[in-house]
């Protein structure tokens, strides 16, 4: 059974009682919430998500403040098994908070993988890893590769490498877009696939794009890492692609990993083995998707 087979009323009833158990990327989440825009966001962005009857990986709640704060500037509290890792946010930001909270669940607890702050997409079985800090344009480029480039979405935010065989483990979730990139990506994709736009968050204006239906279903189809491309978005600049030394990329990727130090020697060995297998590039682009897509295709191993 999938989530869109439930009516909004049924979803609401579950969220405020025993919780709604559904698949979020490759993990399963039991969510309790009494906030209406969460219900709306979940219904839209997780429409194709499988409903789970088993116990879930993560139990989270997203509730409105109680007491006086429920009347004056109400806030949304994210809680993971009774632990509140973030300060509460205005209630209008509750759905983005669910997305950020879900990322936190993964980066803080899933040390069966090396978890890297990077978008990752797949074509012909090969994975293209796009590491980058906020503002590097990795999510925008990832959205373009997925919506018009024929690549499969593995994740727009967290690349997870399995420790024993270095396969990329997909975690297909809504793509998070910020500020100008929202309109740019809207111009190349179906407008109905977007969550409502939320303004004035800590990351600026944010919106989420639905992952493609087939990619959601393929969460267990692994990919072999082949390319690491460090994107750098620069408006009106000269585009260039530059090969990056393995050593330089190793250090950058360790820096982009959430649990490199927790994995210790294991982490070091994974990154070494990964760099024996992949080619590394730095890519400066001006936002011209057509050129970017052609270039990424040309880098794929034949």
């Amino acid at each position: 059974m999938i989530l869109k087979e439930y009516s909004p009323k049924e979803i609401k009833k579950l969220l405020i009682s025993s919780g709604l158990s559904f698949r979020v990327g490759r993990f399963t989440v039991n969510l309790k919430s009494n906030i209406s825009n969460v219900i709306k966001g979940i219904s839209k962005l997780y429409a194709e998500s499988e409903i789970i009857s088993q116990p879930c990986d993560f139990s989270v709640t997203l509730n409105r403040s109680t007491g006086i704060r429920s009347f004056v500037k109400p806030q949304a509290h994210f809680s993971f098994n009774g632990i509140e890792p973030f300060s509460p946010l205005p209630v209008s930001q509750a759905f983005p908070l669910f997305e950020w909270g879900s990322n936190w669940c993964v980066t803080n607890h899933c040390h069966q993988y090396l978890v890297i702050h990077a978008a990752v997409v797949e074509k012909n079985g090969f994975a293209l890893i796009l590491p980058g800090q906020s503002g590097s344009g990795k999510s925008t480029l990832c959205a373009a590769l997925v919506t018009i480039g024929g690549w499969r979405l593995l994740s727009d935010e967290l690349t997870m490498l399995r420790l024993d065989d270095l396969k990329v483990v997909p975690n297909p979730r809504p793509i998070s877009l910020k500020n100008q990139s929202i309109d740019i990506v809207k111009s190349i994709s179906d407008q109905n696939k977007f969550s409502s736009v939320v303004k004035d968050t800590i990351k600026g204006t944010v919106a989420h794009l639905c992952p493609p239906k087939q990619d959601v279903l393929d969460f267990d189809v692994l990919a072999t890492p082949a390319l690491i491309v460090y994107p750098k978005y620069q408006k009106d600049s000269e585009c260039y692609l530059q090969e990056l030394s393995k050593g330089e990329s190793f250090i950058r990727l360790a820096d982009h990993s959430f649990n490199y130090s927790i994995l210790g020697l294991e982490g070091f060995e994974i990154l070494s083995k990964l760099h024996d297998k992949v080619e590394c590039y730095e890519y400066c682009y001006d936002g011209d998707f057509k050129e970017a897509l052609n270039l990424m295709d040309s880098l794929l191993p034949s």
């Binding site: 088993q54 116990p55 990986d57 098994n81 009774g82 632990i83 607890h109 899933c110 927790i262």
Partner: protein
């Protein structure tokens, strides 16, 4: 606390997992997260050869927590050696407390224990040089306002926490185990009489480690890691009993020397209520003779049972919040005399938020 609580049941009789369905495992996972005991549960499963009963979809929670634990142990050991090197120059050999001491002593309760700060104890006359040496070696103190500065320096038993700028680990430097102005007082020289040495490092004696842990749990008025601490105490006492069956009598004698009998009474009562510990009748008889108001004691115990219950913490029930508030008041009542407490609480309730608001305004202005 026992009936509805899978974590407590498991800690008392680990073998029960052989009859568990997915539902109980799910509850265990939730309670292990909220109490920060995931890695310890993993140890106990392993020690009792029970890993084979863990469902596949659940196992990663334990193995991941174990990895965090291993990395954490290494970090703390490195930090211990950095601290000692920094203080060696001033000829100070600190006594390690709490989690770091359990690690150095290889106590059972170190297994799967995660903690955020390293705690050390130095005698008061060495406090100044300790602070200076740490400062020169890259530790920075937390920024505190004038009120907090006075609060720490003149009233409390520790100085404001300092952070190692290289490793980002925090150190709490103590010169006593209870606040100087507290109703329960301790002559900290007495701790030095029984100090133990492991390798190159100093730690409190077993009895003092237990009493300190109990003081921390029962007087601090904060219960973020409360259930974890309660189980630490259970393991420490079990360690003691496995070496000496009269250990509780020894512990009681020590509590008398330090003036911590009442704290030990609450501690052992909780051990018996929560973990079914058999308390030596010689010790219970002593308690019965000395407890002045059994009714109050009973009420306080009830409050502790509420706030230390992992299930209550998960749902944050009304009863849980009331109990938490009452124990907060109690701990402050014990911590400082009335004429200090009221101005302190008023300051914390009104002036501190006002100052923070003003600071935020100022930052906003600078930002724009």
């Amino acid at each position: 606390m026992k009936s509805s609580n899978v974590l407590v049941k498991f800690l008392i009789t680990p073998i029960i997992v052989n009859r568990w369905s997915q539902k109980e495992w799910q509850q265990l996972i939730q309670q292990a997260y909220v109490t920060n005991l995931m890695a310890r549960v993993h140890f106990i499963l392993n020690d009792n050869k029970l890993i084979k009963y863990v469902p596949n979809n659940v196992e990663w929670h334990f193995t991941s927590a174990h990895k965090v634990y291993l990395a954490h142990q290494q970090d703390v050991l490195n930090e211990v050696s950095v601290i000692c090197n920094a203080l060696k120059l001033a000829n100070i050999a600190p006594v390690f407390l709490k989690g770091t001491a359990y690690l150095l002593a290889d106590d059972k309760c170190n297994q799967g224990r995660l903690f955020s700060d390293v705690d050390i104890f130095v005698i008061k006359s060495e406090l100044d040089s300790t602070e200076k040496m740490l400062h020169w070696n890259g530790w920075v103190g937390e920024e505190v306002d004038q009120h907090d500065e006075k609060y720490y320096r003149d009233w409390m038993h520790e100085i404001p926490p300092m952070t190692n700028t290289k490793t980002h680990m925090t150190i709490d430097v103590h010169h006593n185990l209870v606040p100087l102005v507290s109703r329960i007082k301790l002559n900290s020289d007495k701790l030095l009489e029984t100090i133990e040495t492991v390798g190159d490092y100093k730690i409190l004696s077993m009895e003092d480690r237990i009493l300190h842990s109990a003081v921390h749990l029962l007087l601090d008025g904060e219960f973020n890691q409360g259930f974890r601490d309660l189980h630490d105490l259970y393991l420490l006492i079990s360690d003691g009993l496995s070496v000496n069956k009269d250990f509780l009598v020894v512990l009681y004698t020590r509590s008398q020397q330090l003036g911590f009998e009442l704290i030990l009474y609450y501690c052992l009562s909780l051990m018996s209520i929560v973990f079914n510990l058999d308390v030596d009748t010689r010790v219970t008889k002593e308690f019965e003779k000395n407890i002045k108001s059994p009714l109050t004691a009973k009420l306080v115990l009830k409050l502790f049972c509420q706030v230390l219950n992992p299930t209550e913490k998960l749902i944050k029930s009304y009863k849980y919040r009331i109990s938490l508030f009452m124990l907060f008041i109690r701990s402050h009542w014990i911590k400082m005399p009335f004429q200090m407490l009221i101005p302190h609480l008023l300051y914390k309730a009104f002036i501190t938020p006002y100052n923070e608001w003003k600071k935020a305004q100022k930052q906003n202005e600078e930002h724009n």
